[in-house]
């Protein structure tokens, strides 16, 4: 049967099992919206800004593991989406973003609402397509989803000129996709797995260093088996948080710039570092020359470019992480090793570092400490929640203090560090899991970067709880200025801010402000009970800092402590 390109898009999305998309209509995508009107089974969320739409699709993808879908118009619609796309790219999140484009005959003419979005996004997409013939549309959509979701996931952009979506052709859905230039199903080499197992058997002071790849590969269960079998401690990057429950006895917490004392000390004294889906980012390694210098480095990653990029790797394993761990665990189980005995000294040493309790902070009776707010949230949720964060101090405190029960419960912009990510991502996660409690841990500055999405949350009754750690500063900027710029707080103080309670109420959301520690719990419980999107504005200690902190470029053992 002949169908328009717009109809083919809708039918293709159905074939792919897509049931929720985040978007914003405009001139050249009206034919697509007209088809969406006739397909109510495809739930479309009208966001308030395209950046919010892409972040929402990203939050949906991170929370579910499925491909997130966003649809925006040409020109400004597309350029507004760029930050969302770059955010997803840096964190390897599977997205397909459809952008409208002016008719093919007008491309390059500086037509109304024309932007070369393929060119603009080229460095921040896994791949992109400009569809120039409606007969290629179905195949292109199938390829886009295949590329976004396989191998190392990432965002794929599909640019749709208006004439391509109005012209008609036969709808032929490709049941299987294969590309001669893209073979993502990399199976880990057994010889390399064996080398890794040998190294682990011999190691006296191993550390398993887990990144976002563990979440992407759904490898948590295998990771737990590996750690428990070999009694090897685990440290997680910001992106890897939740891979192992926070309270697991082998979990050292986050490492790096704001990592725990024990995690950074363990990395620096390890004789074997097993990197699993992590990429030795500068926020993790600190000064490269002094990073894990005593260790043999083993690295399992689906992405060969991540291996030996920053730190020389001795045992590289390219392949799907879950598959590699299944094989590694099977190999290790066959070995007769006294794992517990071998680890006794190392375990004792780590316990000693832990006793330093570097996350301790001075509680005050009349001033709310931001850390206390997060501890209160733990008390209320018992970890049964999805947390999103903005970027800055709020993000680091959330990473340090929230107790996570498992993967896909901590959604944060790790690579790009996008302020304004958390709230729309929380909307996407809430759309995916209506029954879950979803929090956005925010700062008073970050939340104002996509505050308009309160409208979206209200329209679709998505009861996201925004907890603002309100210090009236761009907190992390101020912290750096205090520590490294002689306390010269250049333009980091938000001398004006809105009344967040009234702001919430203006949208019909629930708003409450707290200024005393003993009000925090009740306020959050009330927000949860309201059943509405809510802002809990916590006025916190203004100049509280995130500690430990490794100054940029210093070795990770040189931590500033509170």
């Amino acid at each position: 049967m002949k169908m328009s390109g717009a109809r083919i898009l809708v039918e293709s999305l159905k074939k792919l099992g897509v049931d929720q998309i985040f978007g914003y209509p405009g001139g050249v995508v009206l034919p697509i919206y007209d088809e969406l009107f006739k397909a109510p089974e495809l739930r479309h969320y009208l966001v308030r800004h395209e950046q919010g739409g892409v972040h929402a699709a990203d939050g949906f993808a991170r929370a579910t593991g499925r491909v997130g879908v966003a649809l925006v118009t040409s020109g400004p619609g597309a350029t507004n989406a760029v930050t969302g796309i770059a955010t997803a790219y840096m964190d390897s999140i599977p997205l397909v973003v459809f952008t409208g484009q002016v008719p093919t005959a007008l491309i390059g003419n500086d037509a109304f609402q024309e932007a070369d979005i393929i060119g603009i996004t080229r460095p921040c997409v896994k791949h992109s397509y400009l569809v120039r013939d409606v007969r290629e549309l179905a195949q292109t959509i199938a390829e886009a989803f295949y590329i976004a979701s396989t191998g190392k996931p990432g965002p794929v952009l599909v640019d749709l000129p208006k004439d391509v979506v109005t012209e008609e052709t036969e709808f032929v859905w490709p049941e299987a996709v294969s590309l001669r230039s893209y073979n993502p199903n990399v199976v880990a080499h057994v010889k390399q797995i064996e080398r890794l197992a040998d190294a682990l058997e011999k190691a006296k002071r191993p550390v398993i260093y887990v990144g976002g790849g563990m979440i992407a590969a759904n490898g948590s269960a295998e990771l737990k088996k590996l750690a428990e079998l070999t009694k090897a401690p685990v440290t997680e990057t910001l992106m890897g948080l939740g891979s192992l429950p926070t309270d697991h006895p082998l979990n050292l917490g986050m490492l790096g710039m704001h990592g725990t004392y024990r995690a950074n000390m363990a990395m620096s004294h390890a004789d074997l570092v097993i990197a699993l889906g992590a990429r030795f980012d500068d926020r993790v390694t600190g000064k490269l020359d002094e990073f894990a210098v005593h260790a043999t480095i083993a690295h399992v990653d689906i992405d060969p470019t991540a291996i030996s990029k920053n730190v020389k790797c001795h045992i590289p394993v390219v392949g799907d992480l879950k598959d590699a761990l299944v094989k590694l665990n099977a190999d290790l189980k066959k070995r007769k090793v006294d794992w517990k005995g071998n680890r006794a000294d190392w375990t004792a040493q780590i316990a000693e570092w832990h006793a330093a309790n570097a996350l301790a902070y001075a509680k005050k009776k009349n001033v709310i400490k931001p850390q206390f707010v997060l501890e209160t949230i733990n008390e209320i949720t018992k970890g049964d929640a999805i947390y999103c964060t903005e970027v800055g101090q709020n993000q680091m405190w959330a990473a340090q203090f929230l107790k996570l029960n498992g993967p896909r419960t901590f959604l944060t912009s790790g690579g790009l560090g996008t302020m304004g990510y958390g709230f729309p991502a929380a909307i996407g996660a809430q759309a995916a899991f209506p029954a879950k409690r979803v929090f956005d841990i925010a700062g008073d500055a970050s939340i104002q970067m996509n505050i308009q999405e309160l409208g979206t949350a209200m329209q679709y009754r998505l009861p996201v709880i925004i907890v603002i750690l309100n210090n009236g500063f761009l907190g992390m900027v101020r912290q750096w200025q205090q520590l490294f710029y002689g306390k010269r707080y250049a333009y980091s103080c938000t001398e004006f801010q809105p009344d967040f309670v009234k702001l919430a109420e203006a949208y019909g959301a629930f708003g409450v402000r707290v200024t005393k520690p003993d009000e925090v719990k009740g306020a959050i419980e009330k927000a949860l009970a309201s059943g509405r999107p809510a802002i809990v504005d916590c006025v916190v200690d203004r100049e509280e800092n995130v500690y430990p902190m490794v100054p940029a470029g210093a070795p990770i053992t040189k931590m500033l402590l509170a």
Partner: protein
């Protein structure tokens, strides 16, 4: 600092819209260096072959080849530099030169020595074509430079493995 070397890298790509910009963008975005680049379709019109000359230490060149492989439209990458990649490299240069009656004989002698060809003649100029490895072309250009070069165009290198090995 690790030693930097020149590398000749051949890349087989899908002959699709925008592939060249993806490759060029990869180099500029990651701070890799391109000395020369040539592209043309292969026997199979759905693929193109690129030859890229780049400079970097081993770590950088390893990243370059890995990053190239990571691009969705890249089918195959070969770095010809190294012992196990015995290969032939060729480049073509066109040189337009002042051809006064007094120096025509000298020009033609040089063309003969370098096994070049005169491909265009006008009352005042010759256009000369010379093919060969880079060193030979450099030598030729230096030898005729004193005679008055008006214009030089070089193709950038192409490369191919000796023997049975093949990129395609």
């Amino acid at each position: 600092m690790a030693a930097k070397h020149r590398h000749t890298i051949s890349v087989l790509v899908e002959n699709k819209f925008g592939v060249l910009s993806r490759i060029a963008g990869l180099f500029s975005g990651r701070g890799f260096n391109i000395e020369s680049l040539s592209v043309a379709p292969t026997l199979d019109a759905t693929t193109s072959r690129m030859t890229i000359i780049t400079v970097g230490d081993d770590k950088i060149v390893e990243q370059i080849t890995k990053q190239l492989n990571k691009l969705i439209d890249v089918i195959k990458v070969i770095d010809f530099t190294g012992d196990d990649h015995d290969h032939v490299e060729r480049e073509i240069v066109l040189v337009k030169i002042n051809a006064e009656p007094s120096n025509r004989a000298e020009i033609l002698r040089m063309v003969e020595i370098f096994r070049g060809k005169v491909v265009d003649v006008s009352p005042k100029t010759y256009m000369i074509e010379v093919t060969g490895a880079e060193g030979k072309l450099n030598a030729f250009v230096e030898m005729i430079r004193p005679l008055g070069i008006l214009e030089v165009a070089r193709s950038g290198k192409v490369a191919m493995s000796r023997g049975k090995k093949s990129l395609t």
